[in-house]
């Protein structure tokens, strides 16, 4: 049982060690990465099944009891996100078979990617604030290496912005951790939930704002998002897709955790700030996208805008809103990463993903067009795809809470998202091909299969929504009742 909680971290971590040793055998590395991510997915599904069956699972490393040892906790929120992370890792590993060139493989693409996966899963599963910082650093270092691997000029430029901003975020995070420890004497999140309640409320709110800045940068919320569109369009598609899907979501996860477990003392203020930020994030992101002309840049701005919906769900802070935020998160990871995959395929087939340089893809590559249509319409919120339910939940929660302005903003953003998606659709797929555009040979299966599989997930989440919704609601119920989390970590005697 205790091993099951850490298996989604341990498998990729151990496998990356082996992959480092195999660094002169790229073919073997590729297969190894694929097998590892598949095993990680299996372990994650087993963990989710265990959590659904028996409730929150917790373990401490090295046998040191909580709150002194490092705790790892899997509740519904963590387990769901780990499953999503493992799905994305598997899809990326498959896509990378055809997308990552030999040069990057020689520089250690595969072991670095496995470290990144371990870092993401570690951040989802840890129950200790300082350990969360460590996992953030693990994934930051791995992602920085992946972003700049191959050292193209644009890549380095994007990479420097990325790392500089993320280091600032780490600095805020570390400072906040230090202050938290000084104030309460503990960093175990379950223990903190109780300790922060007894601390002076104004200091706790100050800490909350520090964490908001630290996690807000990671999650790319307004006004701390500018680094994301500047860096995400530069690396190879496989890397960019995983980044686009997962990395900002680690920040969103940290916000979800912090503002449901730790900082719930002054909801009117903290979540009020979140609501304002959510509104700005949605609108600014979608307006930024409307001004762009390159597929991956448009998509990068849309990541920002979509984060706004998740933060909105968190800000409303009702069971329905949190379920909506989580559902939105899962839907968004799948759809967004898939769009990046499609953009990569367009580049592969047409030689560019600049909307001025491509066209006529619907006529010549109809399957590719459908592969784009599914995630794009899901993102815009068309029924019966996953995005429709995600938006519906958040909007319903907004109406329930009487947040009319935010509901209007959310719906308006949806409309503008549709505008961006139809812009790509119309210009890359419908418009006649520009003079001299030669479409290359058909795309390799390794790139097509992940696109088809993720589109399948998007459709499944839309058509058979009930089981997914039930999971999201279970997670939301746990988030609204932190005492369950605390009891699972500290035992029934723990003071929630």
């Amino acid at each position: 049982m205790s091993w099951l909680v850490i298996a989604p971290i341990l498998l990729p971590l151990a496998a990356s060690a082996v992959a480092f040793v195999l660094h002169r055998r790229p073919a073997l590395q590729r297969g190894w990465a694929l097998a590892t991510t598949a095993a990680t997915l299996a372990a994650s599904l087993a963990l989710l099944a265990e959590v659904s069956r028996g409730g929150i699972v917790a373990t401490t490393l090295g046998g040191w009891p909580a709150p002194f040892g490092i705790t790892f906790v899997a509740d519904h929120l963590s387990a769901i996100l780990v499953v999503v992370g493992a799905v994305m890792a598997l899809a990326t590993a498959a896509y990378a078979l055809a997308d990552v060139d030999a040069g990057r493989e020689g520089l250690g693409y595969h072991p670095l990617f496995l470290v990144l996966v371990a870092g993401v899963h570690g951040a989802f599963l840890t129950g200790d604030l300082f350990n969360l910082y460590v996992w953030f650093e693990v994934l930051l270092i791995a992602s920085f290496a992946l972003l700049t691997l191959g050292s193209g000029r644009a890549q380095l430029e994007g990479g420097v912005k990325y790392v500089a901003v993320n280091l600032v975020s780490s600095l805020f995070f570390l400072a906040a951790i230090g202050l938290t420890y000084g104030l309460t004497g503990t960093l175990n999140m379950a223990d903190l939930a109780g300790a922060l309640r007894d601390a002076p409320p104004n200091l706790v709110t100050l800490l909350a704002m520090l964490f908001l800045v630290a996690f807000g940068i990671k999650a790319a919320i307004f006004p701390l998002f500018f680094w994301l569109p500047a860096s995400y369009h530069t690396p190879p598609t496989a890397v960019a897709a995983y980044f686009a899907g997962m990395l900002t979501k680690v920040g969103v996860y940290a916000l979800l955790r912090a503002f449901t477990l730790l900082f719930t003392g002054d909801v009117a203020w903290t979540h009020g700030v979140l609501a304002v930020l959510a509104g700005f994030t949605m609108v600014v992101g979608v307006l930024g996208a409307a001004a762009q002309n390159e597929m991956r840049r448009i998509l990068a701005f849309h990541i920002v805008s979509q984060i706004g919906y998740m933060i909105l769900g968190l800000a409303l802070y009702t069971p329905l809103a949190l379920a909506g935020a989580l559902f939105y998160l899962v839907h968004n990871v799948v759809a967004k990463a898939n769009l990046f995959f499609v953009a990569g395929l367009v580049r592969r087939v047409a030689g560019s993903s600049d909307l001025d340089a491509v066209g006529g893809l619907y006529r010549h590559r109809p399957w590719l067009a459908i592969g784009f249509l599914v995630p794009a319409f899901a993102l815009a919120g068309f029924p019966p795809l996953s995005g429709f339910w995600a938006k519906l939940l958040v909007v319903l929660a907004g109406l329930e809470a009487g947040a009319w302005l935010l509901v209007v903003l959310a719906l308006g953003t949806g409309l503008l998202t549709l505008y961006s998606m139809t812009k790509i659709w119309q210009r890359a797929f419908w418009a006649p091909a520009p003079e001299g555009l030669e479409l290359r040979r058909d795309a390799p299966a390794a790139m097509v299969v992940p696109v088809a599989a993720l589109a399948g997930v998007t459709i499944l989440m839309g058509v058979a929504v009930e089981p997914f919704l039930a999971l999201a609601q279970a997670a939301a119920a746990e988030m609204m009742d932190p005492a369950r989390y605390v009891a699972a970590v500290l035992g029934e005697g723990g003071t929630p």
Binding site: W3, S16, A17, F20, G63
Partner: protein
């Protein structure tokens, strides 16, 4: 760099530095030291050799590629954690084998194996950086 003084000094120093790095590694469980700082000292010893004698000879001295060291080190550290499964404990639980001899007590443990792994990773990472800077 072609300097007789540096080469002679390096020949004297490198053994001492490597020995000192192992000393730091073994001392680290209870006292200041450990795999990280030990690894840094070992890497600086090899870096010194590379500066004095050239990178080809340093490479030959090392025998393995630095990146292999990272892999082996990471594997050792993970294995140290996994060994706890054999004893039926949770990940990273420390296991100890203590043997009394007449002159000394031999203490082997999974934390030591973990530290050896850290040592190798640090040596590997620092030398990977150093050698790739030399390539450019």
């Amino acid at each position: 760099m072609n300097s007789v003084i540096l080469r002679t000094a390096t020949r004297l120093l490198i053994g001492l530095l490597l020995l000192f790095s192992v000393f730091l590694l073994l001392r680290g469980h209870d006292l200041p030291g450990g795999g990280f700082i030990g690894g840094l000292v070992a890497a600086s010893a090899i870096a010194l050799y590379a500066i004095a004698e050239g990178f080809e000879r340093a490479f030959a001295l090392l025998r393995v590629r630095p990146r292999t060291l990272i892999g082996v080190g990471l594997s050792a550290a993970v294995t140290a954690g996994l060994l706890a499964a054999v004893a039926g404990d949770v990940f990273l639980t420390g296991l100890w084998w203590v043997r009394e001899f007449e002159a000394f007590t031999l203490k082997l443990s999974t934390p030591l194996l973990f530290d050896v792994g850290v040592y190798l990773v640090v040596v590997g990472v620092v030398l990977t950086m150093l050698f790739s800077l030399e390539e450019h």
